[in-house]
């Protein structure tokens, strides 16, 4: 249970600790003879460098901290894939932590991440107050994904929710829909842009927006539909704030004896794996998630290397994915 140190390797290879250090860091100024002797000794002892001691001594770090606000959401998994890809490529490791959507837990997770003194931090849709983010940004480079910031030392990567909502409305209008309601995401991240995009697109088509208050869950989607049914205000098409909400909406529509898409069309947002299930087969808006991760990691590494000081604000274009929950009003011909 006790790992060998550089000293042990040096002793075994008959060289100095400093030389072992050079070999471990792949320095070119080591003779081939010594290098192989050191590597052999390291191999035999099962030695691997102590990341913390290294980073303590070098006053640098090859670790990027990633705070995932919600591990349950597969959305973030794909962003992490993108981050990981770029990080690994550039010789950085990542460590992940999660706050479970609770500000208190997230704060703790942040503290924990910071205590490792990583080279930089990527926060995926954080729920902590902006001040906490600002404080972290004073200590190291920070990149935000799926949350905006005005702090000039913080880079951000977001999708263009307005464009996404417009794509959905355009699609529905092109099918012939005129009465299109939006089930709103309330306080959720990105709910604002999506709502604004929806309203703007409706008005651009000369249609009357109908924003229905809802949330990012399937229960909320179902509830919103039941409300519309009671008020006799059901439109011919629904644009949900996200896929979960859309699936809840579909379920409530079917419960009421209505068919999707013959009677009502439904569009989700996010293109989660859920939407792709044949059983659901939801028309939705796709965000380039892995690209989010890649851009975030790129931006962070630029800051780490001090190649840039002015903030970057990535706004990525979403795209429409047409599946089987949208059709012309009155059903497919």
């Amino acid at each position: 249970m006790v790992r060998p140190t550089m000293e042990d390797v040096a002793l075994r290879a008959g060289v100095s600790r400093a030389l072992v250090s050079l070999v471990m860091r792949g320095s070119p100024k080591v003779s081939e003879m010594r290098r192989s002797a050191v590597l052999k000794a390291a191999e035999e002892l099962g030695y691997s460098p102590h990341a913390m001691a290294r980073s303590l001594a070098s006053r640098t770090s090859t670790v990027l901290g990633v705070m995932v606000s919600d591990l349950h959401n597969a959305f973030f998994a794909e962003v992490v894939d993108g981050i990981d890809e770029v990080a690994r490529d550039q010789g950085f490791d990542i460590i992940i932590n999660t706050g479970g959507r609770s500000p208190a837990r997230e704060r703790r997770a942040l503290e924990s991440l910071l205590s490792f003194r990583p080279a930089g931090l990527i926060l995926l849709s954080p729920v902590v107050p902006a001040t906490a983010i600002g404080k972290a940004a004073e200590q190291l480079p920070v990149v935000l994904v799926a949350r905006s910031s005005r702090v000039s030392t913080v880079d951000t990567v977001n999708d263009d929710g307005e464009t996404g909502a417009r794509l959905a409305v355009d699609h529905l209008v092109s099918l012939g829909h005129k009465r299109i309601a939006h089930l709103d995401g309330g306080e959720g991240t990105q709910a604002g842009p999506r709502r604004r995009g929806y309203v703007a697109a409706m008005e651009a088509h000369g249609l009357v927006p109908q924003v229905v208050s809802s949330e990012y869950t399937d229960a909320a989607g179902a509830r919103a539909i039941r409300g519309l049914l009671e008020d006799d205000a059901l439109p011919t098409a629904i644009l949900s704030c996200n896929d979960f909400n859309a699936v809840g909406a579909i379920s409530a529509l079917e419960d009421a004896g209505l068919r999707v898409p013959s009677d009502v069309s439904v569009v989700g947002y996010d293109n989660t794996s859920l939407a792709a299930l044949r059983h659901v087969s939801l028309t939705t808006i796709d965000q380039p998630r892995a690209e989010f991760g890649r851009l975030a990691a790129d931006a962070l590494l630029q800051r780490v290397r001090e190649e840039r000081t002015e903030p970057v604000r990535h706004l990525l274009n979403p795209s429409l994915v047409v599946r089987n929950t949208t059709a012309p009003p009155g059903g497919p011909r």
Copy 2:
């Protein structure tokens, strides 16, 4: 961008570095006066301890490493919740890393985790070879979740797949089903026990098992059903190897004009959030995921504290969750 050190705090509070160290570790042998002076200085400077330096100096760690084989699977998120709960409770932090189901990436993730010299390691359904796990277990306590091991220094936490499959069969039989097929998980983890449990339960009821080769995806579930339809061998009930497979099966059944559960009953396995969606509302087998995490963390911490040396093998009982995809054959009365 430069964080204050203990020295800075000491200077500001007019005490020695050692005293600051005592305060930071909550030692009782510090006068109230000095303590508050130190805390005030720390607060003013925005000081927080350097976890790596601390662990280097103390030769101990308060960090638990968690390797999640697949971040895309929400199953693991709930296990992590359980781990986090226990760890936090006992003053430990967790750092997460992922291997994305690729042995090579996972190996690297493991190395990275080890380089932080955590107090212990929890591996969630790892895909690396047993030898790699054994090697890690020589250096620190290791607990495996959703994967078994015969190494005596490694603890394991698994669900009892045989019992779970039996619960499902019993449920279907009690509804009156006699022809029940199992869509098999192939090489997937836990597929074996589930298959064995299914076969044993069928035989216990005097019924003929029908194992259909499939996989842990919704496409595979659909494919298996299409095969059964072609062969004209469709039973009245299906036990899928997991929820995704079950949803694929349902979708293929509906495509063929059959109704679930009137014509065919379907049972999933895992009780993922997918199963709970009203639109799916899948009868399934629930595993106590958070409990997995809690038990894993408990077991690990026991090893870390050297309270135990003989291995622990937790085998948790799953439970049946009845929703709307099962009914008596011939439809609900």
